[in-house]
Each structure stands twice: as C-alpha cells, then as structure tokens.
C-alpha cells in the first residue's frame, strides 16, 4: 500500500487533514494557555487582596 500518494487529489486530501490537525493542536494549546493565564491572574488578585486587607484581631493600643 502506498501511504503517501493517493491520486491526483492527494494535495486536497492532505490539505484538509493538515487543517484538521491544526485546529486540534491550536485549540488544545490555546485553551490550556488561556486556563494557565486565568489561573495566574486570579491568584495574583487573591494575593494582592490578602496583602491590602488590614489584619483583623490585632488592635493598636
């Protein structure tokens, strides 16, 4: 079986499979990056909120 030569339409077939692969890889990667960045942003926000809040329970005499 010749794996890489179909007929005169081989280029069309490989172009579509290439696009499909691109969609899969790009979406998988983009969604992971987006999640990573969102997590970092939320964690930064939580950290800054904790530092800006005055500590409760300790009063200055």
């Amino acid at each position: 079986m010749d794996f890489f030569v179909f007929d005169k339409y081989a280029m069309h077939v490989w172009a579509v499979y290439g696009l499909g692969l691109l969609l899969i890889v790009a979406n998988g990667w983009l969604s992971r990056q987006k999640l990573k960045k969102t997590k970092q942003r939320v964690m930064r926000r939580l950290a800054s909120r904790q530092t800006s809040q005055p500590s409760k329970g300790v009063t200055a005499e």
């Binding site: 079986m1 794996f3 179909f6 007929d7 005169k8 339409y9 081989a10 069309h12 077939v13 172009a15 579509v16 499979y17 696009l19 499909g20 969609l23 899969i24 790009a26 979406n27 998988g28 969604s31 992971r32 987006k34 999640l35 969102t38 997590k39 939320v42 964690m43 926000r45 939580l46």
Partner: protein, 243 residues
C-alpha cells in the same frame, strides 16, 4: 433525591472539580480515537469509484460540519436554561463553547471549499447549504462579539443568550437545506444508521471521527469552562482552596 446529581452541577466548585477530573480522560480518548479514525479514513477505507481519493476529505469535513451545528444547539439550550432557571454555569458553558464552534464551522467551510474545487470545479457557490453554514459562522462571531462588548458578565449572558436562542433557527435550515432546495451539495450520507448510503468499511472511520470530535469538544470545553468559572467566581471564598 433522583436529581441531586443534576443540581450539584449548578455548584461552581463542584463543576470546577468535575471539569478538572474529566478533561484528561476526554482529551486522551479523543486523541486515540482521532488517530484510529484518521488511519481508517486515509488508509483502510477503499477509494470511491467516482470521487477517487478526494472522498477521504469526508472524514474531516462531515464531523466538523456536524460539530458546528451541534455546538450551536448546545449553546442555545444552555442559554435557555440560564435564562429560565437563572443558572449562571449554563451561560458559562455557552460562552466556553462558542470559540470552538466557530473553529469547527470555519474548518467545515474550508474543507468543503477544498473538496468542492476538484469535484464541482469551484471553491464556492451560493448554494443553500453553503450559505446557511456561512451564516452560522457569522452567528458565532456575533455571539462572541456581543459578549466581549459588555464588561458585566450578567448583561453579556443575557444579550448573547438571545443571539444563541434566536440563531438556532438556522440549524434546521442547514440540516434540511439539501432537501428543501435544489442544491449542489449532496444530501445526507447517514441520515439513518440502519440504511446509510455508504458501505460499512467507509462508514466506521466516519463514526469514529464523529465520536472523537465530540470528545475533543468536551476536552477543550472543560478547559474553557474552568476559565469561565474562575472569571465569574473570582471573589468566591472557595476559590483559594481549589487553586
């Protein structure tokens, strides 16, 4: 008691944990099935007597077109659930689904054009199926554009939800356009599983690819859904425990 599991899905921490748990399973299962389906479509399925090897485009084109419509229906249903029962996570699923739906629609249109060029002698015709699919892509763009126009997620949910619900009328038009109008696009190949118009050795890779695309959508949705939860619940007390 019977619906307890369903009600739990409305809880952001529970949904976040569930998405974390499901994502790797969905992703690896989708990858494995895609590899099997692509191998079957490229090397196992016999060459079509009329279209030659160009018919192998079917194994990417048809699942992508199917997903483009299925995702829009999911968006419409979840938006309706969000509006009726005021479940914010339902809107989050719709918002997380939209980019992937647009990608699948673009892939369906691009692969259709690449298939159309050798078979019909043209990249594009203003055929009912092609035009309605293009309108679907614009609906996805409209949905995402409208969401990004609002700073308040509640307003964005309501406004974009209306687009999702109204726009779903386009889905049956896409599906039945080949029956209602005289189109260049062929009619459905597997409208009935017991009587498909292709042979079994051509059919199984298509079914495997459809399942794989669904699982892939699930895997990417889980990541995007978690982003939506994090953005919406950024002030919640439970959040530091999960991160």
């Amino acid at each position: 008691m019977m619906w307890t599991w369903f009600h739990k899905l409305g809880s952001p921490p529970y949904a976040y944990r569930l998405a974390c748990l499901l994502q790797p399973w969905l992703f690896w299962l989708a990858t494995a099935l895609m590899a099997i389906g692509a191998y079957g479509g490229l090397f196992v399925a016999p060459t079509d007597y009329q279209m030659g090897d160009a018919f192998r485009i079917l194994y990417i084109h048809a699942p992508a077109a199917y997903m483009s419509m299925a995702i829009y229906v999911i968006m419409a249903i979840t938006s309706a659930i969000g509006m009726i029962w005021r479940i914010k996570l339902a809107f989050a699923i719709a918002a997380a689904s939209a980019p992937l739906g647009a990608w699948f629609t673009a892939l369906a249109l691009a692969s259709g054009a690449i298939w159309g060029q050798p078979m019909w002698g043209t990249w594009w015709v203003w055929d009912a199926r092609l035009t309605s699919e293009l309108i679907l892509l614009f609906l996805y763009f409209g949905y995402m554009g409208l969401r990004s126009a609002y700073d308040d997620p509640n307003q964005a949910d309501r406004a974009s939800g209306i687009i999702a619900i109204v726009g779903v009328v386009n889905v049956p038009i896409i599906k039945f356009s080949v029956d209602w109008w005289n189109t260049l696009h062929q009619p459905a190949t597997i409208s009935k599983l017991d009587n498909p118009s292709i042979t079994a050795d051509m059919l199984w890779p298509l079914l495997v690819m459809i399942v794989a695309f669904n699982l892939f959508y699930g895997a990417v949705l889980m990541n995007r859904f978690r982003c939506e939860i994090l953005n919406r619940e950024r002030n919640a007390r439970w959040l530091p425990e999960l991160l």
